[in-house]
């Protein structure tokens, strides 16, 4: 990137400067023996062109919207349209969540993001024994299309885009969403949104798996195939590093394990007979924005470059849209403190800014009270306003990749790419992501433990937790989901089940069983079933019966 005579001059000057630095350090010793990012990259005092001497601008960076997309996936990025401001929401009943959705849209939010409760995420109806105490707690309870209709009441599904955090039963919830949109009068091809549909990370760290890997991968490939034909605008998967990071991974591990999962999905889809350029453009990603601001910016840039190379070089994708890594970001839940919760507003703002400087396509900002409970209306509003301040007030969206060209950012982007590739090579050697689940779990746990020890021994400062503590009054006004939500949901389900034509339900479940036992695509039979109010638990019950359940290996 620089001419040799320039570099020689800088090197000579830097040598002189090093002596000066040493003299200064004698008078002003440094605050800590070593500076490093959690990913294990040492940070030097200053960065210069010497750190990028062996790099090639065209090959490593290029222009925004061009391979390898280090600088962004679009030529004009936020000068055209800001990222989608998408707050993850959902709790209690479908009625309550519908109200929160409409509140967020009124406040200027530009897309919806739906949280489901744990029984829904694990494919149990609310009347299942294991749903006790969990109904409506971490998201909305959806048992059947009837709940979905209430959830999106007066929200036109042909006009908003919706992201659904649903994995193991993603195909069933997608079927309900399609049925719901059609009932509202929209065509399938008009709907737009994302399903998370990333089961490997459920095995690794998030826990809402149902089936073993093989049938899970088949369902995912079924979704890729169905959507590429019927709902071309749909993002068929959101390959997620967010939860991997929340579970303790470093930034380098986050992108490495996520992209390794991505490789496994692409491999499976190609093996099932799909063309990489048919589904490649609809793959999307989901990352965490953590506290180390500059490391995070570099991480997003490195991830884009690595994925572009994987899709083009490893899988031979020809469509440039298959090469682009488009991603959603959420600020780090794990960085929020229960102590002095208002300080979380600042943490979240810096994390969100790193995602924007890293070129995110959509963003969720956490609310300051989330280390204590589900967020209240006020805290959600401030979280959304944080995004609006970044988008409209501080000027960072007036150009693309403003930190590109910083000697440090570029150097760290290179270092994270290298670390990421080391991990991907290790995972390849183990036989791919599905075979490497326990390896990744161990790595994540070790990082999590080190992180906690660093806080406990004050190597890492956490304001309010190990430094700058103060006496506080217990927080007030926290949102609570009471148990009556569960009782009402069970009652509603009972009525629904009593009002159906049982023979029809049985025949639709039989059709699902037969499709599951053959190689047929399961999505069309899911759609037929949900339209007749066959429940999520009934459908997943058949799948459990045909395919068996995943058994977690305990690694710690």
């Amino acid at each position: 990137m620089f001419k040799q005579d320039q570099l020689d001059k800088i090197a000579a000057n830097k040598e002189k400067w090093a002596a000066k630095l040493e003299a200064t350090m004698k008078k002003r010793p440094e605050r800590q023996p070593e500076f490093a990012v959690d990913s294990g990259v040492t940070i030097n005092t200053v960065y210069t062109p010497l750190d990028l001497a062996d790099r090639d601008y065209e090959q490593d960076l290029g222009l925004p919207g061009e391979y390898p997309f280090t600088r962004g996936v679009q030529p004009n990025l936020y000068r055209g349209r800001l990222w989608t401001m998408r707050q993850y929401a959902g709790f209690g009943s479908a009625e309550e969540t519908n109200q929160r959705f409409r509140y967020l849209l009124e406040q200027g939010q530009t897309g919806l993001s739906c949280a489901f409760d744990l029984p829904t995420q694990i494919g149990y109806d609310s009347d299942h024994q294991l749903a006790r105490g969990e109904i409506g707690k971490v998201g909305v309870a959806i048992d059947s299309l009837a709940d979905m209709e209430t959830l999106f009441d007066q929200i036109p599904l042909g006009k908003v885009s919706t992201s659904m955090t649903i994995n193991a039963p993603a195909g069933v919830l997608l079927a309900m969403y399609i049925a719901c949109a059609e009932k509202q009068g929209f065509k399938k091809s008009e709907i737009n949104g994302t399903i998370q549909n990333d089961v490997i990370k459920e095995y690794i760290c998030r826990g809402t798996y149902i089936l073993p890997p093989e049938p899970s991968m088949r369902l995912i490939s079924n979704i890729f195939e169905y959507c590429s034909k019927e709902i071309p605008q749909w993002n068929t998967i959101s390959i997620s590093g967010y939860h991997i990071r929340e579970a303790g991974a470093t930034a380098a591990q986050e992108i490495a394990f996520t992209l390794a999962d991505g490789i496994a999905y692409v491999d499976a889809a190609i093996k099932s007979g799909l063309d990489v350029d048919n589904f490649g453009p609809r793959l999307s990603f989901f990352f965490n924005a953590h506290l180390n601001f500059l490391e995070e910016v570099a991480k997003f840039r490195a991830a884009r470059r690595v994925w572009a190379k994987i899709m083009r070089e490893r899988f031979g994708a020809k469509n440039p849209r298959s090469w682009t890594l488009r991603f959603h970001t959420q600020t780090a839940g794990v960085s929020l403190t229960a102590q002095q919760p208002m300080v979380n507003i600042m943490r979240t703002a810096f994390e969100a800014l790193s995602a924007v400087l890293g070129g995110t396509q959509s963003l969720h900002t956490n609310s300051y009270d989330e280390a204590l409970a589900l967020p209240c209306d006020e805290s959600v509003m401030i979280a959304l306003r944080t995004q609006q301040v970044i988008g409209y007030e501080i000027g960072v969206c007036d150009l693309v990749d403003p930190l590109g060209g910083s000697y440090y950012i570029e150097s760290l982007t290179n270092a994270l790419e290298e670390k990421c590739m080391d991990y991907i090579n290790k995972i390849d050697a183990l036989g791919g992501a599905v075979k490497a689940i326990e390896y990744m779990q161990k790595e994540i746990h070790n990082s999590a433990y080190q992180y906690q020890l660093a806080i406990d021994n004050k190597k890492k400062t956490v304001i309010g937790v190990n430094s700058f503590q103060m006496e506080e009054k217990p927080p007030e006004g926290l949102l609570k989901v009471d148990l009556s939500v569960g009782e009402r949901q069970v009652e509603k389900l009972k009525k629904l089940k009593a009002g159906r034509d049982q023979a029809k339900v049985e025949s639709l479940l039989k059709a699902i069983r037969e499709a599951a036992e053959s190689d047929a695509n399961l999505i069309p039979v899911f759609i037929d079933a949900v339209k007749e109010y066959v429940t999520l638990g009934e459908i997943c019950g058949v799948l459990r019966d045909v395919f068996g359940e995943y058994k977690q290996q305990i690694v710690f």
């Binding site: 744990l118 029984p119 995420q121 694990i122 024994q129 294991l130 749903a131 006790r132 105490g133 969990e134 707690k137 971490v138 459920e202 760290c205 998030r206 826990g207 809402t208 929340e246 579970a247 303790g248 794990v334 403190t337 229960a338 102590q339 280390a371 204590l372 409970a373 589900l374 746990h445 999590a448 433990y449 906690q452 020890l453 806080i455 406990d456 956490v462 309010g464 937790v465 190990n466 217990p474 927080p475 926290l478 609570k480 989901v481 148990l483 977690q552 305990i554 710690f556």
Partner: protein
């Protein structure tokens, strides 16, 4: 020196999949000299109590971040009592609002460790309680 090592069951009741905290605590207790068994995810109160009896533990530590603590923690305490293991020390952690803590203590949970608790505090608490 011949002091019996404290045995702990670290458990994840309910459907919640967040096990970072549970595993970090488990490791800290192990590094603190205790024998630790971790149940893995999605344990019913019945499964937790049966594991506690089978492993003959002195302590059951549970972690929930989903909000189901009010239902599941007391169920575990009650089942332990029913099975004649009411002397097992039961502690919990997770995203548990302060206002829920009195009811949990009333139900027999000895202590709740909220977010930000140093690992050493948990280790010391258990050691002091059992000596």
């Amino acid at each position: 020196m011949s002091e019996k090592r404290i045995r702990v069951l670290v458990a994840k009741p309910g459907l919640d999949g967040h096990d970072r905290g549970a595993k970090v605590i488990a490791q800290a207790l192990r590094d603190g000299g205790m024998e630790v068994v971790y149940t893995g995810l999605r344990q019913t109160p019945e499964q937790i109590v049966s594991a506690a009896l089978q492993e003959d533990v002195d302590v059951v530590g549970m972690s929930i971040l989903s909000g189901a603590h009010g239902t599941l923690f007391p169920e575990v305490v009650n089942l332990l009592r029913e099975k004649g293991a009411g002397d097992v020390l039961v502690v919990g952690g997770g995203i548990i609002p302060e206002e829920d803590i009195p009811a949990l203590k009333e139900a027999g949970v000895a202590e709740i460790f909220g977010p930000g608790t140093p690992l050493a505090n948990v280790v010391t608490y258990i050691k002091e309680k059992l000596n």
